[in-house]
């Protein structure tokens, strides 16, 4: 359904060129949900926006993106006009600002249908009402005539989802769709997305910083750090058999009900690298308990054991749970610091 090959996005800023997405390669099957997990600033949102051709003016993209078997660079001008928003569409983070405050719900819902599918006004209206029903908005006929400020946050996000589905996309990109919502509303929105995805056999890319959300909703997960995918694998593999030290560190830094109560969370030491001046080697090396001198020299490629199931791949020279990784950790513990000079002392986290 979606095939991304070696995608890189550069932004030219007054301070220099910034590589926000660096060599991402990804395959997504029909009907599959793929979650991209990462901290803020890891490039996941840029990646999502690039997929739907929403790069800011100072950004440039290299690498290919194929959606539904079609290379988006190979589209003619006329085809491209009715491609984004039709074959692929997107749900944004903040429903409070995603809707135009001075336009009624019906105008915002129908404009894409009218533009892309050339349906008549009354048909578009009927379809919009049907859509609002599908996203479980009560009394859709009345809601159609309202302005966004008359709707609640959850209601607005449902409208935004309905808007994204207006032209029956085959691929839906959801960029942190629940981050700005109340916890109680979050679940219902995620349930709705799941339901619609199954009903319409859509593929979905779910961008989130919440590992819990990714775990519950995604078939596969990609962990992103400093613009690179660090580890990709089926959800179960990633949580039970993680290979990348960054994935491990992420999991250790969030509360885990499986651990006994009052156990300490482990924050990740240090901070993400400056993308204007990226490290030569692995981007995570400076914060990594496994880092060895070779990690500092070259970027590890994203690959895995040839025998691993479900395409579990990781970008690490000394992965967790392998002899090489254990040896690296032991060596660093002996030395008292990793190859980048990070002290290996047990970092005491906050008591939860």
């Amino acid at each position: 359904m979606l095939r991304v090959t070696d995608l890189a996005v550069d932004f030219s800023t007054p301070a220099g060129t910034l590589r926000a997405v660096d060599g991402v390669t990804l395959d997504l099957a029909e009907g599959e949900t793929f979650a991209i997990v990462g901290e803020s600033g890891s490039g996941k949102s840029v990646f999502a926006r690039t997929l739907i051709n929403l790069l800011a003016g100072n950004g440039t993209r290299t690498g290919t993106i194929e959606i539904g078997g079609r290379d988006i660079d190979g589209l003619s001008k006329g085809e491209a006009k009715h491609f984004f928003g039709v074959d692929v569409s997107m749900v944004f983070q903040d429903p409070m600002t995603s809707l135009n405050p001075v336009k009624r719900v019906d105008a915002q819902l129908t404009e894409a249908m009218r533009y892309h599918l050339k349906v008549s006004k009354s048909e578009a209206k009927d379809r919009a009402i049907a859509l609002l029903k599908q996203v479980h908005i009560p009394s859709p006929e009345q809601r159609m005539r309202q302005y966004p400020h008359e709707l609640s946050g959850g209601m607005r996000q449902r409208v935004v989802i309905a808007m994204a589905l207006a032209c029956e996309p085959r691929l839906l990109i959801a960029d942190e769709p629940t981050t700005a919502l109340d916890v109680t509303v979050q679940k219902s929105i995620l349930d709705l997305l799941d339901e619609l995805r199954i009903e319409r056999k859509m593929s979905m890319i779910l961008i989130t910083h919440d590992l819990g959300v990714a775990r519950g909703r995604a078939d596969r997960i990609g962990v992103m750090y400093a613009g690179r995918l660090m580890e990709v694998g089926r959800t179960s593999d990633l949580f039970s058999d993680m290979r990348h030290p960054y994935t491990q560190a992420l999991l250790q830094s969030i509360p885990n009900p499986a651990l006994k109560s009052h156990s300490r969370l482990q924050p990740i030491p240090g901070r993400p690298p400056n993308l204007l001046d990226p490290p030569q080697g692995c981007a995570f090396a400076a914060r990594c308990r496994h880092a060895q001198p070779d990690c500092l020299n070259s970027k590890p490629p994203l690959d895995g054991d040839s025998g691993s199931e479900g395409g579990h791949r990781w970008a690490c020279y000394h992965p967790v749970g392998t002899p090489a990784g254990d040896a690296a950790l032991a060596a660093n513990l002996d030395a008292g610091e990793n190859a980048a000079g990070l002290p290996m002392k047990e970092i005491v986290g906050e008591l939860v």
């Binding site: 926006r49 739907i52 051709n53 929403l54 800011a56 003016g57 100072n58 006009k81 009715h82 491609f83 984004f84 928003g85 039709v86 569409s89 997107m90 944004f92 903040d94 600002t97 995603s98 809707l99 135009n100 405050p101 001075v102 336009k103 404009e111 894409a112 533009y115 892309h116 302005y147 400020h149 935004v160 808007m163 994204a164 207006a166 032209c167």
Partner: protein, 406 residues
């Protein structure tokens, strides 16, 4: 007849606003406007007190057998005025009464008797006659200049805002300021012909850079607007008068022609002043529209519309321009003040006998009462227009109503 129609239209508008925005809200706004209006007119009426001379003048007036407070009347009527005339004027204006009675008398004359008073006290010309003759000229000037300003500012503002976030291409960025600077230099030392030639070349290059798009288009539009904003209207007017009426005889300063002498004659007599006034208003609208649209373009709903695959034109015109229109209309209302200032200057420069040049003449003749009345009328129009625009919002922009309700 016309007054009744206008009144009906006004009442209808008020009714509709009350219906659309809620009667409480409309009443609050209109009531506030009325209060300001009363205060302004009262202040204007009070200021006439300053025209009273000091004690010695008052004494001198009393010795002449007229009221102590008749100084404004004496000034207005001229030194040769008879005692009866002065006394009639004092009675008419209520100069012997206290401030409130004076104000009451004046407003009663204005509002109830619909008597605007005299335009020139010495020859007894009625202000209403003067206005009937002169007001159309100023009104056409306003209308044309605003049309010119909007026709220039709206497309350029949209284009400029749209190009602001895009990659630059084309000319180096210093070309525009350098070009404008060169025109100025050559204009002063090089004579008319060379300057025109050079100005045309620079204008062509500027147009190219603006239409080529990119960041530079925005920068150049913005720079031109900024420079235009800094040119005083009288400098602009004199420059154009020199270029088109003195050096080249493209515009003749033969005075205003009404519509009745034919459309061609009418436009021929007014195009240059209208352009000057329009150019003076253009940068105000342009910069405001651009700023507002850039702000709107950074909103999330623009990304959403883009993700929906809507065309850039559609997004600009339907999603971004609409909220910005609200701002633009506000500024149009507020800019009436600047327009009045500009009209006074432009009419003076081009000998257009409108209300602006009447004001100058009235100043020269010390016609306190007429100036007072005109100030009051202009203030009333200004307040009324802006209040109406203000209240109209609630119908156009749902956000404002949401704020007003809470």
């Amino acid at each position: 007849m016309i007054a009744i129609l206008v009144l009906i239209a006004f009442l209808g508008l008020c009714g509709w606003i009350a219906y659309a925005a809620g009667p409480k809200f409309a009443l609050k706004r209109l009531g506030g406007a009325l209060l300001v209006l009363v205060l302004v007119t009262f202040a204007v009426s009070t200021m006439l007190q300053f025209t009273n001379g000091d004690e010695s003048t008052k004494q001198a007036l009393e010795d002449l057998g007229v009221s102590r407070n008749s100084q404004p009347c004496v000034t207005a009527l001229g030194t040769g005025a008879s005692v009866e005339n002065v006394n009639a004027c004092v009675e008419d204006r209520g100069l012997d009464e206290n401030l409130f009675v004076q104000y009451g008398k004046w407003t009663k004359q204005l509002v109830i008797d619909r008597d605007l008073g005299l335009a020139f006290y010495k020859n007894g010309e009625k202000l209403s006659d003067t206005m009937k003759q002169r007001l159309p000229r100023t009104a056409w000037l306003f209308l044309y200049s605003q049309l010119i300003a909007l026709v220039l500012a709206v497309p350029l503002g949209i284009w400029s805002a749209y190009q602001a976030g895009r990659k630059g291409r084309g000319l180096p960025s210093w070309a525009m300021p350098a070009g404008v600077g060169l025109i100025l230099l050559i204009g002063i030392f090089g004579g008319f012909r060379i300057t025109t030639l050079f100005a045309i070349v620079v204008a062509a290059v500027a147009l190219y850079s603006i239409f080529a798009g990119g960041r530079l288009a925005d920068n150049n539009t913005n720079f031109l607007a900024f420079a235009l904003l800094s040119i005083p209207v009288f400098v602009l007017g004199e420059t154009f008068r020199y270029a088109f009426a003195v050096e080249r005889n493209v515009y003749s300063l033969s005075g205003y022609q009404p519509w009745s002498s034919g459309a061609a004659e009418h436009f021929k007599s007014i195009w240059l002043p209208a352009i000057v006034l329009g150019l003076a208003a253009t940068p105000v609208y342009l910069r405001l529209l651009r700023a507002d649209m850039i702000q709107n373009l950074q909103q999330d709903f623009v990304s959403v519309a883009k993700a929906k695959g809507m065309s850039n034109t559609h997004i600009l015109l339907r999603h971004v321009l609409r909220p910005s229109t609200v701002t633009l209309i506000t500024v149009l209302g507020l800019n009436i003040a600047q327009l009045v200032n500009g009209a006074i200057v432009v009419e003076f420069i081009y000998d257009l006998d409108g209300m602006g040049s009447y004001l100058i003449a009235a100043f020269a003749r010390r016609e306190f009462f007429a100036v007072q009345t005109i100030v009051a009328i202009v203030a009333a129009l200004f307040i009324l227009t802006n209040t109406l625009i203000d209240v109209l919002y609630t119908a156009v922009d749902p956000r404002v109503k949401a704020d007003a309700d809470s």
